[in-house]
């Protein structure tokens, strides 16, 4: 594994976007950054800037108002990038799935790499999801090398 690739796995900077969730999952994301769970151990920093972020954490269902914002944020993130749908609403639309203004899960708008079900998700699951996403990133780099 090269030095650059190791660095990519060691320093995933996270961008957190709330697509209109009930804030339950958002609070759990913030809980994962607090001293008890301490995501910074893995080099994970909650960064506000999509231009410098590696992982997009989306909470809440995509709806007709904010899907453009979500798409825009996704497009502003440089490659390599990962998207994690946090919570049942972000995965499928959840309890809002048949509301007239809701498009469903965020995978209707942007490609999602990891789905984290739960209402609300637990901080451990979010940490697990980020690690899973990084494994996927490592696998992608590996297959590129093999080609």
């Amino acid at each position: 594994m090269g030095l650059i690739q190791k660095s990519q796995l060691k320093s995933p900077w996270v961008l957190h976007f709330d697509c209109g969730s009930c804030n339950g999952c958002d609070i759990e994301i913030l809980a994962a950054l607090t001293p008890k769970f301490d995501l910074e151990r893995f080099g994970i920093v909650n960064i506000g800037d999509p231009k410098q972020a590696d992982v997009l954490l989306v909470t809440g269902p995509a709806n007709k108002r904010n899907h453009r914002v979500l798409k825009n944020l996704y497009n502003q993130m440089p490659q390599p990038k990962l998207v994690i749908a946090v919570g049942t609403c972000a995965c499928t639309g959840g309890v809002f799935h048949n509301c007239p203004n809701v498009l469903g899960g965020v995978d209707n708008v942007v490609p999602v790499d990891v789905y984290v079900p739960g209402c609300a998700v637990r901080p451990e699951q979010i940490i697990d999801a980020v690690v899973l996403a990084l494994n996927k990133l490592a696998g992608l780099a590996q297959s590129e090398e093999e080609e």
Binding site: L3, I4, K6, S7, Q8, K10, S11, W13, P35, D38, E40, R41, F42, G43, V45, N46, I47, G48, D49, K51, Q52, D54, Q76, P78, Q79, P80
Partner: protein, 288 residues
């Protein structure tokens, strides 16, 4: 210039400065984490960050931005070389100012309100610490009779004994230089804030990596200046510099962010006030 031992030491010091800065930033993040009862990232985390940013696809807003990022690092290294080769303190200060200007021009060049406001606040940050640093340097030169670092190091009495207040003022300057709370109005390193990332917002990929390394070099340069306060023994000088470094991290964790008006008031009252009182005391004592 003949290649004697001291020149070689200077070159090695200059080359080691970015690495020293990176390690110091790692220590910073680790100490901050311990102060918040967390584990914190590994010590070499800043190097991981910079390498990752270097490999990431750059989203360049315009042609000026990468040039300015290179010039920021270049001027920071030039300022560091004035310290490493024991040349002029004043030139160091003005070259650092040039590096800051490059950062601000890059921030202004992008059509983003966040980086624009961040750039304007970076001007205020410069306004808050550079006159104060200049006054400290003038005080040093009044005592030692020279602005040349070699001459200052040859002065027998440790400067800390003559200019204790100026040392305290350097703490304020260092906090501003490291972009730490309470003076991180223009763009902070690790916290969310109202300006996204302020003056850094529009940097991405390798330009951000360059700016990050430039910032490390600037911090190490400033710590080297602090080291001059006990020049006869470089080990005590280093200890003094590290004490201010830890002090800056402590202040960062204790104080919330100030508005720019209060930042200016604080730095100018503490900075000018203490140094002038110190100089008056020295002048009444008959030292200068």
């Amino acid at each position: 210039m003949a290649l004697n031992t001291s020149t070689i030491i200077s070159i090695v010091f200059l080359a080691a400065m970015p690495f020293l800065g990176g390690i110091l930033m790692g220590v910073d993040r680790r100490l901050t984490a311990r102060m918040q009862n967390r584990m914190g990232p590994p010590l070499i985390q800043p190097f991981y960050d910079v390498l990752k940013l270097w490999a990431k696809e750059p989203y360049i807003a315009n042609n000026i931005q990468p040039l300015m990022a290179f010039m920021y690092l270049g001027f920071a290294m030039l300022a560091a070389s004035f310290v490493a080769f024991q040349l002029d303190l004043l030139l160091m200060l003005f070259t650092t100012a040039l590096a800051d200007i490059c950062l601000i021009v890059a921030a202004f060049s992008a059509k983003s309100p966040y980086s624009y406001i961040g750039g304007r606040r970076e001007f205020l940050v410069m306004l808050s610490y550079e006159p104060v640093l200049l006054l400290v340097e003038i005080a040093i030169s009044l005592v030692t009779g020279t602005f040349i670092i070699k001459g200052i190091r040859a002065y027998e009495t440790p400067l800390l004994l003559l200019l204790p207040a100026a040392y305290v003022v350097m703490q304020v300057v260092l906090v501003v230089e490291m972009k730490k709370s309470p003076f991180d109005v223009s763009g902070s390193a690790h916290a969310h804030q109202e300006l996204v990332r302020g003056v850094y917002t529009e940097f991405s990929g390798y330009t951000m990596a360059l700016v990050e390394v430039g910032h490390w070099v600037k911090v190490v340069t400033m710590l080297a200046i602090v080291g001059l306060f006990w020049a006869p023994n470089p080990f005590i000088g280093t200890a003094l510099a590290l004490a201010l470094f830890v002090g800056a991290i402590l202040i960062d964790n204790v104080y919330p962010r100030l508005s720019w008006q209060r930042m200016l008031k604080t730095t100018w009252t503490i900075g000018f006030g203490l140094v002038i009182v110190n100089l008056l005391a020295l002048s009444f004592g008959g030292v200068i």
